[in-house]
């Protein structure tokens, strides 16, 4: 708390009474500093960098390709296909988990340590704290996704190579353009990952329990995946966050299609706004005098 305590001493004049609280940036800086000190967050970043390398090496060493996943049939000797195989696998539960490790904990840890009273009475408002924590969690999610993407693409490129890729309309895509499409595919994961981050924030605020905040988004992701794979419930399918994880398929067809990506963007945005609004209301109305 030393960084925060220096702030009030500078505000001697009563004219600046409104600036008694530190600004948005100070709260954000403080949240990032707390995150950087967290052993768990560092582990997640390390896993995001190292796990793809191990997966790429293992799959490259297989004698039979994993044909049940899209691009799996080319994965053992085509690095671009292998990056997409890892992408498909990551979107099943890895990405929701990696983001929830921070987002599901960011509010609930204050409950766990009984620090709400301290942070709110001495340094900042609930609104500022809410946005600082939300921006930190979303920034962390983006960072994890970028690290995972870069590590996967680089290790597949170096270990397996970059050969021309057969697309989802049977067309042959030269290695250069295909590499760009692979990077774009990873980028399309960002909206649903952020939607899961917002969902984890809501669960973190509501449950006041880090375990619920971390585990429930992963379980919800799996339930959504299951519902999305069922025949007969296609009407709910577009409204699931996990559907947006598959919008990259349109990049690899000829002609390309972007309808699912735009739908996914809207749906992810909707989930995010709804989750954050609920979380904000819950936090504003909470009685924290009990500590």
């Amino acid at each position: 708390m030393t960084a925060m305590q220096t702030a009030p001493s500078r505000m001697a004049s009563p004219d600046h009474i409104a600036r008694r609280h530190p600004g948005h940036l100070a709260a954000l800086r403080w949240e990032i500093r707390k995150l950087r000190a967290q052993y768990r967050a560092r582990t997640v970043l390390l896993v995001a960098v190292l796990a793809p390398v191990a997966i790429v090496v293992v799959i490259h060493g297989q004698s039979r390709p994993p044909k049940d996943t899209l691009f799996g049939r080319f994965a053992i000797d085509n690095g671009l296909a292998l990056s997409l195989l890892v992408l498909g696998f990551a979107s099943q539960w890895v990405l929701p988990l990696l983001t929830a490790v921070v987002a599901g904990d960011v509010f609930a840890s204050e409950d766990q340590h009984g620090t709400w009273k301290t942070v709110l009475t001495r340094s900042t408002s609930r609104g500022r704290l809410f946005w600082a924590k939300t921006i930190t969690a979303c920034g962390f999610a983006t960072l994890v996704l970028v690290l995972l993407a870069v590590s996967t693409i680089a290790s597949s490129w170096l270990i397996v190579g970059h050969q021309p890729l057969i697309g989802l309309s049977g067309q042959t895509i030269p290695a250069g353009p295909a590499q760009l499409l692979v990077a774009q595919s990873w980028a399309t994961m960002l909206p649903p990952v952020l939607a899961f981050t917002c969902l984890a924030i809501l669960l973190s605020v509501w449950s006041r329990n880090p375990a619920v905040g971390i585990a429930t988004p992963v379980v919800l992701g799996m339930v959504m995946q299951l519902v999305g794979a069922l025949g007969g419930v296609e009407t709910v399918r577009p409204f699931l966050v996990t559907t947006a994880f598959e919008s990259w398929h349109g990049l690899f067809t000829d002609p390309q299609f972007s309808g699912p990506f735009l739908e996914g963007l809207l749906v992810s945005g909707g989930w995010c706004v709804a989750s954050l609004a609920t979380a904000f209301v819950l936090l504003r109305r909470r009685d924290i005098t009990g500590g």
Binding site: R73, I166, G170, N209, V212, V223, G231, G232, T235, T253
Partner: protein, 260 residues
């Protein structure tokens, strides 16, 4: 903690209830016959030309191949919409060096997923097996043996109008007379637009067994029993199928008589 578990359970039950209600309400699947019939020939054409290129040929273009498909989900009584492993597509194309069988198409089995992607297994009799040998003698994977594709869920959904006739095949390898001395022929009518109908005639050792009109739904099997009995001394029956709808064997089918 108990409250959390309770609320989670209620939320999940509500989700399942909403899902079931929606499922009962309508069938809004983006997986449709028309979209498959548009997507599959494009994917197949690209891969077939790739296969030809591996084999050292460069005489094919998508226009010259002119692939067309007719798709069907799970027999004639089921609506051709929705994901599943029971899609069948009949596809015809023109390759002067590798002509198709007389019926003019090959049968492809599709596993279509709810995410608008599909996995296809081709007829190995026509398109070859898992690997092919390239001009340098290397075994390389056959691109059309098994392949994946995806289609636009918002793509054109108008009827393509492509149809192929059903193929009638004889499945019996011998005939056994019943207690009245009559013989029956087992046949199967494959996927196609109108099923199989026509007339079956048979001849046993110079004795005409009469004519038997038949009519089978597509994707069904049946036993066609001749009205006239065969003599005890007969040891071979020759059948001749004349198709009115669908296609069948044009030459007579001779089957040995087996007595129990």
């Amino acid at each position: 903690m108990r409250r959390i578990i309770l609320v989670t359970l209620v939320a999940m039950v509500a989700l399942v209830a909403v899902g079931t209600a929606v499922a009962a309400g309508g069938h809004g699947s983006s997986v449709t016959r028309a979209r498959l019939e548009r997507s599959l020939p494009v994917t197949f054409t690209n891969l077939y030309i790739e296969q030809a290129r591996i084999l050292g040929r460069d005489d094919l273009t998508p226009q010259s191949l002119h692939a067309e498909a007719m798709c069907d989900k799970h027999g004639p009584d089921v609506a051709d919409v929705g994901p599943g492993g029971d899609w069948v597509c009949l596809m015809g194309w023109t390759d002067p060096k590798m002509p198709l069988p007389p019926e003019g198409y090959g049968k492809f089995e599709l596993n279509v997923h709810s995410n608008d992607c599909y996995t296809v297994t081709g007829p190995s009799k026509i398109i070859g097996f898992l690997t092919i040998t390239d001009p340098h003698g290397r075994e390389v994977p056959n691109p059309v043996f098994e392949f994946d594709g995806c289609f636009d869920p918002n793509g054109d959904n108008a009827n393509t109008g492509v149809t192929f006739p059903s193929l009638l095949t004889v499945t019996s390898t011998s005939v056994t007379p019943d207690d009245q001395g009559r013989v029956g022929l087992q046949v199967s009518c494959g996927a196609g637009s109108e099923g199989c109908s026509g007339t079956l005639t048979a001849n046993a050792g110079g004795r005409d067994l009469g004519a038997w009109p038949y009519s089978l739904q597509e994707q069904s099997t049946g036993t066609l029993t001749m009205p006239t009995s065969v003599l005890d001394s007969t040891n071979e029956v020759s059948f001749q199928l004349r198709s009115a709808t669908g296609v069948g064997p044009t030459s007579p089918v001779s089957l040995p008589v087996q007595r129990s």
